[in-house]
Symmetry: C2
Subunit: 467 residues, 2 copies
């Protein structure tokens, strides 16, 4: 083939080489140039089409690199044989809108996972972001330390020492984008051969996560002091996932004796570990914060996890994990090649937020805010005590109402719902063979003003016929 009639349109805005390329590609795709057929030489085609030779060459190069034509030395260009060409048929680009689930509308929502975002220090955060983006430009956008930036880890280790009684070095800390990610990472460190025990009821996210990795997962019942260690021993688990500072959802603060028993359990066999999820230890309304379990961990048995999602904002995807030294070694060997999941800019902003005293101020501010909401809610609930017992009131951002008789959880929730108040049942936190428990309602108050709390409790009172 020496000629190839192409209807070139110099004024179309599409480069000539591209018009040639597209034409030939289409001819090959649609079989009008058969596979194996020789194409015109660049020299003859450029003469024929009255374009420059380099234009044709560029078109041929593109065809070559996409595999539509093949070059045979000293012989020229040939249409390639293209298997399964039908695949190229592109569907029309279809645009679909976001499939939104219809949202339920409530006037009041006692979610136990709320965070007050009005108190988020936007101005400070914006200022620090802006300053961080100016300083030290290029360095900030290079790939960072896979463990997290050293400066942030140092700030976290100071915080942990002062606020949580944890004595660890920055080398033991791994920063990651959320607790879920850190648990995923942990599975790469400890490997697959483990039996994990969680409290029952528990934080279901962790339960599902361990399950999704085909770990053997058990739940261990709790008494009023937390996970029962004899039952833990019976379960045969080698990893215990607990929330000693403030169990979710029960709000239990594990007493020191139980903590010691847990540590002893871990000590009894090599390879046993405790994962301590210290998710909302920042909020405690009576006395000083209780030291974390990790604070007593002199035998390197506790994997400590903390997050800024609760204490700053859920969208700040920064959590951290403190590894016992034996696991740290495994991390370095097996998993430290995995790149960090948190942007360096965000890490620097958070580091400065901590180092320059903003975090402390923010914690004190939100603690006071939550305390007054907590006190308001407790005061409003006074008349409820004829019908239910209240627990979980010393820490965290939710209370529990236990109704020993009368309505079921489902009824309580439904009656509130019809009046526009969303409340949460304890049952959904039980993982498996659900233990008998009194109908129990969780009331979270972090994201509700005192006025709203008063209004909502008044509605609940009517809904549940409390006099």
């Amino acid at each position: 083939m020496n000629e190839l009639t192409i209807n070139l349109q110099p004024k179309s805005g599409v480069p000539l080489y591209e018009q040639i390329y597209c034409h030939i590609k289409k001819e090959i795709q649609e079989g009008r140039i058969a596979s194996g057929e020789k194409l015109p030489s660049t020299r003859s085609l450029c003469r024929y089409l009255e374009v420059s030779r380099s234009t044709v060459e560029l078109a041929y190069e593109q065809l070559l690199s996409e595999g539509y034509v093949e070059a045979k030395p000293c012989r020229g260009y040939f249409a390639a044989e293209i298997e399964g060409m039908y695949r190229l048929g592109q569907e029309e680009k279809t645009e679909t809108g976001e499939l939104k689930k219809p949202k339920e509308v409530y006037s009041y929502d006692f979610t136990p996972n709320g965070v007050d975002l009005k108190s988020f220090p936007y101005n400070t955060w914006r200022k620090l972001s802006k300053e961080s983006l100016v300083d030290d430009r290029a360095e900030l956008f290079r790939m960072g330390d896979s463990q997290g930036e050293y400066g942030l880890r140092r700030a976290i280790s100071h915080y942990l020492y002062q606020a949580r009684g944890v004595n660890c070095t920055p080398e033991q800390i791994i920063v990651g984008a959320g607790n879920d990610y850190l648990l995923l990472l942990l599975t790469t460190i400890i490997g697959q051969e483990h039996k994990v025990a969680l409290e029952n009821p528990t934080y279901k996210q962790a339960y599902r996560l361990f399950k999704s990795f085909s770990y053997e997962v058990y739940t261990v019942d709790m008494d009023e002091k937390g996970m029962e260690v004899t039952k833990l021993e019976e379960s045969g688990a080698d990893i215990a996932f607990v929330m000693p500072s403030h169990q979710y959802p029960l709000g239990i603060v594990m007493p020191i004796k139980r903590r010691m028993e847990l540590l002893k359990w871990a000590d009894r066999e090599a390879g046993r570990y405790i994962i301590e999820d210290d998710y909302d230890s920042e909020f405690r309304y009576k006395g000083k914060p209780i030291p974390s379990l990790k604070g007593y961990d002199s035998h390197e048995k506790v994997i400590y996890m903390g997050t800024f999602s609760k204490s700053i904002a859920p969208a700040i995807r920064i959590s951290y994990m403190v590894l016992p030294r034996p696991l740290l070694k495994q991390y370095w060997e097996k998993s430290s090649f995995l790149n960090s999941t948190v942007s360096k800019v965000d890490q620097l902003v958070l580091q400065r937020f901590m180092e320059e005293g903003y975090y402390e101020r923010h914690l004190n501010k939100t603690r006071a805010l939550y305390k007054s909401r907590h006190d308001t809610l407790l005061a409003c609930l006074k008349s409820f005590q004829s019908k239910c017992r209240i627990s979980g009131e010393n820490a965290g951002v939710h209370l529990l109402l236990h109704f020993p008789k009368g309505m079921t959880e489902e009824e309580l929730i439904q009656k509130a719902k019809t009046r526009g108040v969303k409340v949460y049942g304890l049952s959904e936190y039980y993982v498996e063979p659900e233990e008998e428990h009194a109908a129990t309602i969780l009331l979270g108050y972090a994201n509700m003003s005192e006025e709203k709390i008063e209004e909502a409790v008044e509605i609940l009172k009517q809904a549940w016929e409390i006099s």
Copy 2:
């Protein structure tokens, strides 16, 4: 016990309740108050110490909640029995500096993983960050969509359609903090029972990652068109990880015929999938970008992965994955409970960066920059062609020099090193039973000015005795 002598210091700045709490705690810890011993009542102790009753109550509450004392109804407070108290001995907080590996110092570094950070649009990024932090405040700090924000996913789907020929909906896209994370996530979606084949040589990070999940991992040799499909078939793998647009490290652009063969391989058995890592498809110097393999994927067999680490900056921890519809269903069922790893603020900034045309401009700018570096490097290397063959020159940000005889890779690297130039050997990308290959050096140019390139090549010329 009715008395408890505590040397209170009202002027010390430490609250009185805390002094009482600390004193009693220490007494119990050190055995001076035996376990089971009754403590003074709050009433008698406040009289004795001449403080308010609420001060003592606060101290006792703290001791109670930390488990040092127990309250027995109608009988009073008793020191708790504390198992293993020795654990409480805190080590002195030891401060250690960061353990820095001594860094090797080079005047010139031809890293194939470089990104030019001078061209990063700092002002735009800062402006968008600032604006994002003002608008719509609280909403931005709530927990976001676990798949990634819809707006960003829509922007990515537009980009993929226009630039990469991928026809997908935002519903198919999952945004995550880096490719490593997305591969981790993918393992939770597809489960553990898979045999994964990678190209050899390949991107080692992916290899290690699959290995760390106890997948069976194979490497499949490549010819000049990419992974050999017959060998892939022989390997028994059901998942193939490939880089068709620009193989790393060999720089091969997979021709359309091979792509079709790969897709046919995937079609032959249910459950087979291809992971297409399109990591630096943005940089191509001749003709139009080649459509991605996913663009031809009419049978839902290709898992597409893309990243902004190469095209914007490594520290921007945002990558994305396009799931075929059958896997999307599995994701929703099994893994969508895992929270997003990218902050909403960053997602919004990136979305606006794409929607408002900044991304396109940035890509064109860096493409031109890399092209001129690429051309300069090729021109400087002209005299090298007597000793070596050059490949990988059409795309990406590195070239390969193949030395069929003469020095070994190690010698080439060492001779460059002694003169302050860092170059990279191909051998380190081979995963297992290393195939015989000519000594091959990778020269990355993304992060080197043209002036530096000229200087460094001149040094290499001397080092390698090229005339």
